[in-house]
Amino acid sequence: MGHGRGPFFERLLNQGCDSTYIAFDNVEVRYTDLVQGLRGVSLNICAGDFVFFCGKTGSGKSSLLKVLSREVKHTSGRVSWKGRDVGQLRDKDIPAHRREMGIVPQDFALLPRKKVWENVAYAMRAIGATRREARRKVAQILEVVNIGHRADAFPHELSGGEQQRVAIGRALINHPELLIADEPTGNLDPEHSWEIMELLRQLNLRGTTVLVASHDVLVVERMGRRIVTLDLGQVVADTQPVRPEGVFPTQERAREDVQAIVGPPLVVERGA
């Protein structure tokens, strides 16, 4: 399967999508008899979408994302990604499932005793890349996320923003078609928050579907993308994206802008 021009350009002309990429159908997550993460969430997401999940702490944002990556198994309902029933995955199939997505957890989840470049390289080598491939690509991705100058630092030597960038770099190293970020700006100041969001926006422009859980209302609104609001484990609002006229006045302008930032659209080969 290859990705040519990002679906974002197509969506500029044709809002909506023909087929559902990710579907949540009446999904419930019950942690204990008293604590429920999700209560009957139904939602469709198209390929190439950029969706924010907003809500207060405990509203179910993280649960929703974790159900998709199978960090949490839902209690009832159905979750599908590319037609694959995520709830039916066997334990031994979960690693392969996660390799197709990039995950940026809330706590950054960096391996504490590995240097920055080793953290990113691990994600590549763990799934079979050679040392030479890893060495080449890690250097590139660290530059993309603007952390190349700290490649030899350990996570505890980095600031929150730097750790976040490493986590994003690691999530991107295997060219995932789906990026899941849980509170990526949670511990960052506004300037760094915007930097991270800009990075995610660029990725989305290259065709990556991006799902972000965030309670940073200012940043979310400024991005002008679809916002799904949750409260007490239920979807209470689903705001479709405002066409980003202000950001990209024309399709041609958008293409130029994107290419100026990230180069020509990626063609990513994925294994079966």
Partner: protein, 296 residues
């Protein structure tokens, strides 16, 4: 394939280096446990060796039935050789025994019938089996009844009983220490795994397979166990040397056997590596199983 092996090995050795304190704790625990186990094993080995040496000095005489054909006596010699606890058997024909006795007693022997039967001379390999062996032989139809077996002296019986007690105690203590060492090493390795439970979760998050996460942990366990084993062998060497020096001061006459350092280091290293493999395999299983997906 080579790249994958290199990756798994480097993961293990980098983790060993960077988790220095936990590595040290695991190695030192394994060393202490294997020192005790190895020490007991070494003492047991020496006692067994002593028992074998002592046994070789004790004989058992078995008198055949009077007028037993020579072929039967020869067959009996072969039969006795197969019994447990027997080191060697030699047949003393009645004619030779009679000649010896005449010589010893200063008799001419003329006009006298040979009153002696054929005799089997048995050298024991295991003194503690002497009683059972004697009973078994006495029941054989070729043997003179009712007292065809002569063997025991009081000293022999005393040594035999002492050795039996030492062996029994050694076996019981050895089994206990074997289990205790396993528990100690398992706990030490399990602590290193628990301390890195979050790392395991992160590895799972980026799509690392069970095998990719499990293997470096197991390699770490093997290295920790083997290193503990080698260290234990050196500790034993030092303890043996210390004891030897102490005994020399007290008594010059007592001879100490030399300590075979390298064979013991190899043995304890292998035992430690096996412990490390088993313990780390079990220790890493739980966080791996529970970390992949939280079941609700």
């Amino acid at each position: 394939m080579i790249d994958k092996i290199e990756f798994l090995l480097s993961e293990a050795f980098i983790a060993l280096r960077r988790n220095g304190l936990m590595t040290f704790a695991a190695i030192s625990t394994a060393a202490v446990a294997l020192f005790l186990l190895g020490g007991l094993g070494y003492v047991y080995f020496r006692v067994s060796q002593y028992a074998t040496d002592v046994s070789g000095k004790f004989e058992m005489s078995v008198f055949m039935r009077m007028n037993l054909p020579r072929e039967d006596s020869l067959a009996m010699t072969e039969k006795l050789k197969t019994l447990p606890g027997v080191k060697s058997v030699s047949l003393i024909p009645r004619e030779d025994a009679w000649l010896k006795q005449q010589k010893d007693l200063g008799l001419s022997g003329e006009g006298l019938d040979n009153p002696l039967p054929d005799q089997q001379k048995i050298i024991l390999s295991d003194i503690t089996k002497a009683d059972g062996l004697a009973d078994k032989i006495q029941d054989m139809p070729e043997v003179y009844q009712p007292n065809g077996v002569e063997y025991s002296t009081e000293a022999q019986q005393l040594i035999s009983q002492m050795l039996a007690i030492v062996r029994w105690l050694g076996g019981a203590l050895g089994t206990l220490l074997l289990v205790t060492a396993g528990i100690l090493i398992y706990n030490a390795i399990r602590l290193t795994v628990i301390a890195r439970r979050r790392e395991i979760r992160i590895m799972q998050l980026v799509g690392a397979s069970y095998f990719t996460i499990w293997t470096p942990f197991v390699i770490e366990g093997i290295v920790q166990g083997a290193a503990g084993g080698f260290l234990a062998a050196w500790l034993l060497f030092a303890a043996n040397a210390g004891l030897q020096a102490f005994v020399k001061n007290v008594s010059v006459s007592m001879m100490f056997p030399s300590y075979p350092l390298w064979p013991i280091a190899l043995l304890l290293g292998t035992v430690g590596a096996m412990y490390g493999f088993l313990c780390s395999s079990f220790a890493v299983r739980e966080p791996l199983r529970h970390g992949s997906s939280i079941q609700r």
